[in-house]
């Protein structure tokens, strides 16, 4: 009878929990409050639409943005300690975004507020803003917990209900004090309320999870594990640990059949078995659970710091930094000068392994994350530097520093006559293409050493060979000093060999004299071609820089989780399925997991595949192939039948997922349904609210529609642009042969990838429109002997009705082509003209400084070499520029080689098309894939 009652309670509880997942929780509006004096009790009672974790994060960000104090306070009165307290409140303490593990959260929050309040150098307004966020976070934690308990009141007996009532009273007192601006008392009562409520939460969890293995009884029934046994398969690991953390089967002692029980596996290779990880509370699939740069094993057995706290002593220097700096991870102030270790300056040395070059650098905190060194000796631009006697080392430091010394090994045998006295350490100016010697150099222990406060490429140059430099063709030594300026070879279109011509680099704003403007390891040409940002090393700010994203085949503009997060999301979707919201509420699962695309994938796959099979498939994944492997799971989703079921799940997900995940959903749809036309079509129809039908009528393929969605475009907005047309063509063999011939005739042979892609884009555009009856008047072709414009319209044609038709032709050759828009650096559909970015094909782009291309037509007119068609093109353009005549336009994007199957419409195309239609009568957007 008792058991029956408990089950009834659970079911009732579950129903209530589900019913409370109402918009009230998820999207309560946070009111802007200008000052604490304005806070009313009713405002306080509203739930924030930000989670407690986000509020703390925002508080820390606001703190970081505070102006530097004019006078440095005494060591023990530093305001930064407030930030360290906020970090301590968060570090290792959140089990989900609104749920905390211990009451220390409130203590650290209060400490931070007290420090801030006493700081005389920060204005009240600035302080209040940060403090309000911290208090809001504290309130949000208890508000969410009380709401959860209220909706599960039936689970508690009378005594427990009384405890809940008291918790409410304490919360109300806290809110009352908050409204009166008594911060200390408000946090005191919020903490008291939380302590009582947490006791009840633990009690409820014991009911929902009767064996205490961190897996809901209901889920255990679903999966087939024993709800009364903590470890159903007796491998030493709790069922919940296996399902939610280790990703092994709780029904099989040795999930991957390697002869070793799951508890003895060391999945993350950190020398701790899964069982040891379970005991230590660390993450069994991450070497470094707390992300402080030190492995779990090293922290627990050697260094002695906490493997689950990034900064064990909360002194602002994380454990990795303490190790590098040689300080005590358990002592905030290792040298006892009343200044926390996180504010001390340390000297650290970094090495570029290939050359042995060293950087000795002094600055606040751990500099390891701020320093990057790379050997760039292979770059074409450094091949002919006369007298260079060392490698070329590029160094960047993304932090303010106090001092730095560069030390480059000096090999006597590399220097003519061992004349090392005439070897100098030079720094390269990437903008001016110049090497300048650093001051105050000395030779010591086989290194040439110089101090520097600027960072770029460093090298050693034997200076007596300057004479050779001056006589040589490519280098000029300046009259004063020892600087070298490398002169441009006017015939060389791409000086730095990064795949972009100098002309293009000037237009995009990338460096003409350095191959990798953002120093992320990817040449500018590749970044531009793939739609990456050549100015940001890590465009989406995730844990992978652009080079890693390139190698992993992921999108540099979409935040990527750690690979384990993906697995977790998928398995969570496959296992907890309909119980997900309950898990989120009780703090067993993060809202982000519930709202992730991986979760949706898991849910979808679970419909077709047994849980054990999914776990076994996941067990095969490694970090390297997780992207491909994860999506390969979709091979299990049948191509026919059950379409309605799949569509329904996707639609439900899209309805509840946060907006930023919608683009990721499109990506998932593209990756998984592209080869299932019926399913793709049905999903697009269901999630685009009718826009996909209009877009199809405008000529767009389903793949194109999904690509536009994936790249964040507003499909409904594009669907309203009735004068826009789309096409997505794949060439047949004969068509490709025709275009190849045209490339040979008009561009030559032996073209590099970039040039060939450009030629293909241009010739494919001409081919496409000639088939529609358009007449070619002019094209920017390499072998064109008459008009030699390198800027302005790529192709000019005349429509069958005699109207001017202007084409912007683009081509890609690498594995992830994408066209992005935006009047900004790096966008491929805008260029800098007259000091501003202007959209290709817009009137201002055609009209401003039109002489940049019209002069070339005029040269041909002057020399009498212009053809009849070119003259017609010139006259029509003149009419547009001078008289405001109308024109039509098109963007044609061609893909060859690795890009042929992946070229796509990129970001902000909605803006681009809408803007061009203000100027041009029509705009086409055509993708042409080679075979």
């Amino acid at each position: 009878m008792m058991k029956f009652k408990r089950v009834l309670c659970v079911l009732l509880g579950l129903m209530l929990v589900v019913s409370t997942l109402s918009p009230g929780i998820a999207s309560g509006n946070r009111k802007e409050r200008s000052s604490p004096a304005n806070v009313t009790l009713s405002e306080i009672a509203e739930l924030s639409d930000q989670s407690a974790k986000q509020l703390m994060q925002e508080a820390m960000e606001q703190f970081d943005a505070l102006p530097e104090p004019q006078d440095t306070p005494q060591n023990h009165k530093r305001t930064e300690y407030a930030l360290f307290e906020m970090q301590a409140a968060v570090d290792g303490n959140f089990e989900t975004n609104n749920s905390i593990k211990s009451s220390e959260f409130f203590d650290h929050s209060l400490n931070s507020i007290n420090i801030l309040e006493k700081d005389p150098q920060t204005s009240s307004e600035q302080k209040d803003s940060v403090i309000n966020l911290v208090i809001s976070a504290n309130r949000t934690v208890i508000q969410n917990l009380l709401k959860l308990l209220d909706s599960n009141m039936e689970m508690f007996d009378k005594k427990e209900q009384k405890l809940l009532e008291n918790a409410h009273k304490d919360y109300e007192k806290g809110a009352d004090f908050e409204a009166k601006n008594n911060r200390e008392q408000s946090i005191h009562f919020y903490k008291r309320a939380w302590t009582s409520a947490q006791e009840l939460k633990e009690k409820a969890k014991r009911i929902l999870d009767s064996d205490g293995d961190n897996l809901l009884d209901e889920i255990e029934k679903e999966l087939g594990t024993d709800p009364s046994k903590k470890d159903s398969d007796q491998d030493g690991l709790l069922d919940g640990f296996e399902v939610l953390q280790q990703y092994t089967s709780p029904l099989k002692k040795d999930t991957n059949n390697d002869g070793k029980p799951d508890g003895q596996e060391d999945t993350d290779g950190d020398k701790l078995t899964s069982l040891q990880e379970q005991q230590a509370g660390t993450n069994p699939v991450l070497k470094d659970s707390d992300g402080d740069g030190l492995d779990d094993h090293f922290e627990t057995t050697e260094f002695g710091s906490s493997p689950i706290l990034k900064d064990t002593d909360h002194d602002g220097l994380d454990d990795g930094g303490e190790f590098h700096a040689g300080t005590d991870p358990h002592n905030r102030d290792t040298d006892r000068d009343k200044l926390y270790d996180g504010l001390e300056s340390f000297t650290q040395t970094f090495t570029e392994k290939e050359s042995g070059a060293l950087l000795e650098i002094t600055g606040e905190g751990d500099l390891a994350t701020a320093v990057r060194m790379a050997n760039v000796s292979e770059q074409v631009i450094f091949q002919d530097i006369p007298g260079a006697v060392s490698d070329f080392i590029d160094i960047s430091v993304d932090r303010e520093i106090e001092e730095a010394k560069v030390k480059i090994p000096l090999e006597k045998s590399d220097v003519p006559n061992s004349d090392i006295a005439n070897v100098k350490l030079f720094i390269y100016d990437k903008e001016k293409h110049t090497f300048t010697p650093l001051e105050n150099q000395k030779e010591e222990n086989g290194y040439l050493i110089a101090e520097t406060n600027k960072f770029s490429v460093f090298t050693l140059i034997y200076t007596p060979e300057r004479g050779e430099a001056q006589n040589g063709s490519g280098v000029k030594a300046t009259p004063e000093g020892l600087a070298y300026t490398i002169l441009n070879d006017p015939e060389e279109a791409d000086t730095d060999g990064d795949g972009l011509t100098d002309e293009e680099e000037r237009s995009y704003g990338t460096m003409v004299y350095y191959h990798d403007t953002d120093f992320d390891g990817l040449d500018d040409g590749i970044e531009m071609d793939m739609g990456f940002d050549p100015f940001e090393r890590n465009a989406d700010g995730d844990s992978f820089d652009d080079e890693e994203e390139y190698n992993n085949d992921t999108d540099p503009d979409i935040y990527d989780k750690e690979w384990t997060d993906y697995i977790q999301d998928v398995l969570a979707g496959a296992t907890v399925n309909e119980f997900a919201s309950t898990l989120v509420d009780w703090g067993w699962m993060d809202q982000e997991t519930y709202d992730s695309v991986g979760f949706l994938i898991g849910q979808l796959v679970a419909g077709y595949l047994a849980y054990g099979d999914i776990v076994e498939a996941a067990a095969e994944f490694t970090q390297a192939d997780v992207g491909a492997g994860l999506f390969a799971l979709f091979g299990f989703v049948p191509a026919v039948g059950d379409i309605a079921k799949t569509v329904e799940k996707v639609v439900n997900f899209v309805k509840r997922a946060p907006k930023n995940l919608i683009t990721a959903t499109y990506e998932m749809i593209l990756k998984n349904f592209a080869d299932q036309p019926k399913l793709l079509s049905a999903v697009l129809d269901a999630i685009t609210g009718g826009a996909s039908k209009n877009l199809r009528d405008m000529g767009a393929s389903d793949k194109m529609i999904a690509q536009l969605g994936k790249n964040g475009n507003d499909l409904k907005r594009i669907a309203k642009l009735t004068k826009a047309k789309f096409a997505d063509e794949t060439l047949e063999t004969a068509q490709k042969a025709l275009i190849d011939k045209r490339i040979r005739d008009h561009w030559g042979t032996g073209l590099n990838g970039r040039k060939r892609a450009e030629a293909f884009g241009t010739e494919a555009a001409i081919w496409y429109y000639e088939l529609l009856g358009y007449k070619l008047l002019y094209a920017q072709r390499d072998k064109d002997p008459r008009v030699k414009a390198r800027t302005g319209p790529d192709v000019i044609m005349k429509t069958p009705d005699g109207e001017l038709f202007i084409i912007e032709a683009k081509g890609s050759y690498s594995k992830n082509g994408q066209l992005n828009d935006g009047k900004k650096r790096g966008a491929r559909l805008a260029s800098r003209v007259g000091g501003q970015y202007r959209l290709y094909l817009s009137r201002e782009w055609l009209t401003t400084n039109s002489e940049r291309y019209m002069d070339k037509f005029e040269d041909a007119i002057r020399n009498n070499t212009i053809s009849k068609e070119e003259k017609e093109a010139y006259d029509l353009l003149k009419d547009v520029i001078d008289n405001g005549a109308s024109y039509k336009s098109s963007v044609v994007y061609g893909g060859i080689r690795d890009a042929k199957s992946v070229i796509e419409a990129g970001k902000e195309m909605d803006d681009y098309l809408e803007n061009i239609l203000k100027d041009s009568d029509t705009i086409d957007f055509i993708l042409i894939h080679s075979i």
Partner: protein, 204 residues
């Protein structure tokens, strides 16, 4: 940087000769010719050509008046610059003032665009409302309107800021390979260059 940039007079002569041979018909022809004359030190004649350009640009303005407000206001800016270059200060001021009002109205109606902010900054620079020129110019995230650097230099009497802006401008002219007779810009890079040189001497 030296703060100076070499003008290729041969190219200017070539352009003027071409325009002479074809006959001047449109606003861009007159503007290009006027700009050549400025560098041939024929200021007075240049003024007349700028005024002719201002007159001829009415034709596309009439086309855009109803259906293309962006391009209409952009060409109005170009026209106001012609008046300024022709020495018609009052006419130029009135047009900048009127344009600033129109652009601010569009801003108030919700239009948010880098060009709009940039144009507003230009208008206020020439109206000598330097604080407003800075205010609107700083809203442009995608590029640094020249008007901001010069306005800051003027307001603070900061010679270094003006020189820095002038150096950036020279670098921009070199990067774009822009020639002095290029037409159709709201304010040509070469106009800003001349303004910068004057400011540089005035503040010094």
């Amino acid at each position: 940087m030296t703060g100076k940039i070499q003008v290729d007079e041969t190219k200017l002569r070539q352009k003027a000769e071409f325009l002479d041979s074809m006959g001047l018909k449109s606003w861009s022809d007159f503007e290009a010719y006027a700009r050549c004359l400025v560098y041939f030190s024929e200021r007075e004649k240049a003024s007349a050509y700028f005024l002719e350009a201002a007159d001829k640009i009415e034709r596309p303005l009439a086309v855009f008046e109803k259906n293309n407000p962006n391009e209409h206001s952009r060409l109005k800016l170009v026209q106001a610059n012609y008046y300024r270059l022709a020495g018609e200060r009052e006419r130029s001021r009135v047009q900048y003032e009127q344009l600033a009002g129109e652009l601010e109205d569009r801003l108030n109606n919700g239009t948010r665009d880098a060009s709009l902010f940039s144009h507003l900054s230009y208008c206020h620079f020439f109206l000598q409302n330097y604080e407003k020129a800075i205010h609107f110019g700083k809203k442009v995230k995608e590029w640094n309107p020249v008007s901001v650097g010069f306005s800051e230099g003027i307001l603070l009497g900061d010679q270094e800021r003006i020189q820095e802006t002038l150096d950036d401008l020279i670098s921009e002219i070199q990067k774009e390979k822009s020639l002095p007779y290029y037409t159709g810009a709201e304010v040509s890079l070469w106009d800003w260059y001349e303004i910068g040189k004057e400011l540089s001497q005035a503040v010094r």
